[in-house]
């Protein structure tokens, strides 16, 4: 049987390469943006920090999407489904590999923020002060950053389990149902997807406006993280059942 280490290694290799390409692309656009800004508006405060932050947010979204594609490919390709291991191990290792690569991407972003902070140190501090009010301290800001990272990771896990859930439901219905019923199911799933995206976007805006919760000891963030992970665990369980019972690979 294939070991956890072996499957993690082969899944991680291509995703690690993908993340590195993304980081290189991100560095290139950051550098291009800064050069353009310096050339057109001269050196003013804040360019480095805001350029890094803006491209980094986009980078996280692209990283999530790229890792989603890689994650989903495993479920319907014989290359992976023919491996001598159970579906539970395959699913969880696949999810874990994407999570580890997302964390790797996040760590590199923190390095970028740290470099940007060297050049434009007042901007990050100013943002944290605005969020926390008069009680700001270094300890609290660290707590806020850890909290944001935890919410981000919980959301990423929930995002991947939800994408897989929808993908696998579509895959199952495509195998079993006639064309008319499949279309109806697909429309319902698209609607569910739209509602979810709107809900998550709304949550993110709300969360960004309430970073102070973390600094003032509010429990809203923690409750949300637990709720995300509970929903993700339920979806993961269903996804594993789908894989075991009904999800087929794309035929040769």
């Amino acid at each position: 049987m294939t070991s956890f280490g072996a499957i993690f290694k082969v899944l991680g290799r291509s995703r690690f390469r993908l993340m590195n390409w993304l980081i290189l692309a991100e560095l290139a656009v950051m550098a291009a943006t800064l050069l353009w800004r310096f050339a057109t508006a001269g050196v003013q405060g804040g360019e480095t920090f805001w350029s890094v932050l803006s491209w980094s947010v986009l980078g996280f979204i692209v990283a999530f999407v790229l890792l989603s594609i890689q994650t989903e490919r495993v479920y319907t390709r014989d290359t992976y489904r023919l491996l001598p291991l159970g579906e539970t191990k395959l699913y969880l290792t696949d999810l874990l590999t994407s999570l580890v690569m997302f964390v790797y991407f996040g760590v590199i972003q923190v390095v970028f923020y740290a470099v940007a902070e060297v050049f434009d140190n007042r901007y990050l501090t100013a943002w944290l002060k605005a969020a926390s009010g008069p009680t700001y301290s270094s300890e609290q800001s660290l707590k806020a950053l850890v909290g944001i990272a935890a919410v981000g990771l919980a959301l990423a896990i929930l995002g991947w389990t939800t994408v897989s859930f929808i993908h696998l439901v579509v895959s199952v219905t495509n195998n079993f149902l006639p064309v008319t019923s499949r279309r109806l199911i697909n429309i319902i799933l698209y609607l569910v997807m739209i509602v979810l995206v709107v809900w998550i976007a709304g949550y993110l805006v709300d969360a960004a406006n309430h970073v102070g919760d973390l600094l003032t000891g509010g429990t809203g963030f923690l409750v949300n993280i637990v709720a995300f992970l509970v929903v993700a665990a339920i979806e993961a369980g269903l996804n594993i059942v789908f894989l075991k019972k009904w999800v087929e690979t794309v035929p040769n």
């Binding site: 049987m1 294939t2 390709r77 014989d78 290359t79 023919l82 491996l83 001598p84 159970g86 087929e248």
Partner: protein, 236 residues
């Protein structure tokens, strides 16, 4: 003689359409079996059911085990490498196989690569159809398992490549392993087959030893197979 495969009452439907119905089949170890049938008869589906790539009903036992995850450690199936991007080199695919399949024999793969004249530095996207089929055969045969499933290994490739693939099958098939080769061109593989299984009318219509076909009907495998569709030979 022990059985490598036992299939009981296996069925498969796709979009409410029955592809296979009430299939029963038992294969002994050490045989080369031709899985024959028209296009769309269900040959590939039957192979996919054995590996768990397709989900059907009934019981499938491989080497005494009924769990699909365990089946896969006994079965080597010619998969079309769709999980790899076109930029992946053949040597990288081999490295993947070496990592994930504990039964992958690297030395045997190198021998197969030399015999089949494969350039492992080529990218998958640069491979011709025949060369890709050779790579798939080399990867499949380099595993040390009990059951090999070769799904139409000769489709669309030139006669020289076909001959080389057939030679590699004869040379590298372990004595105690069973090999199932699906195809609808029978004449080229007929001489190496110990048994034939014909999938027709959504089930296994015929399962006979090649010698028994020749003795019983006085026909070669190819002629006998064609006669099934002309209605001149009786079904088993």
């Amino acid at each position: 003689m022990t059985n490598v495969l036992a299939i009981q009452h296996v069925g498969y439907k796709h979009n409410f359409k029955t592809i296979l119905h009430d299939v029963d089949l038992t294969l002994a170890t050490g045989k080369i079996v031709g899985l024959l049938g028209e296009n769309g008869a269900g040959k590939t589906t039957l192979m996919r059911l054995l590996t768990g790539s397709a989900k059907g009903s009934g019981t499938i036992t491989v080497c005494g085990d009924t769990q699909p995850a365990h089946h896969r450690s006994h079965v080597s199936f010619t998969e079309q490498l769709r999980g790899f991007s076109g930029n992946t080199r053949v040597e990288q695919v081999a490295s993947f196989y070496r990592t994930v399949y504990p039964d992958f024999d690297g030395a045997r793969f190198e021998e197969l690569v030399t015999f089949l004249q494969i350039d492992t530095s080529l990218k998958l996207a640069a491979l011709s159809k025949g060369m890709k089929e050779k790579v798939i055969i080399a990867l499949t045969l380099a595993r040390q398992v009990n059951l090999y499933l070769l799904d139409e290994p000769f489709s669309g490739i030139d006669s020289m490549s076909r001959k080389r693939i057939i030679s590699s099958i004869i040379k590298w098939k372990p004595d105690d392993a069973t090999m199932v080769i699906s195809d609808h061109y029978v004449s080229e593989i007929a001489p190496i087959l110990d048994e034939i299984v014909v999938v027709k009318d959504q089930t296994v219509a015929v399962h006979k030893a090649s010698d028994a076909v020749r003795e019983e009907f006085g026909l070669g495998i190819a002629d006998y197979y064609e006669s099934l569709y002309e209605g001149s030979a009786q079904r088993d």
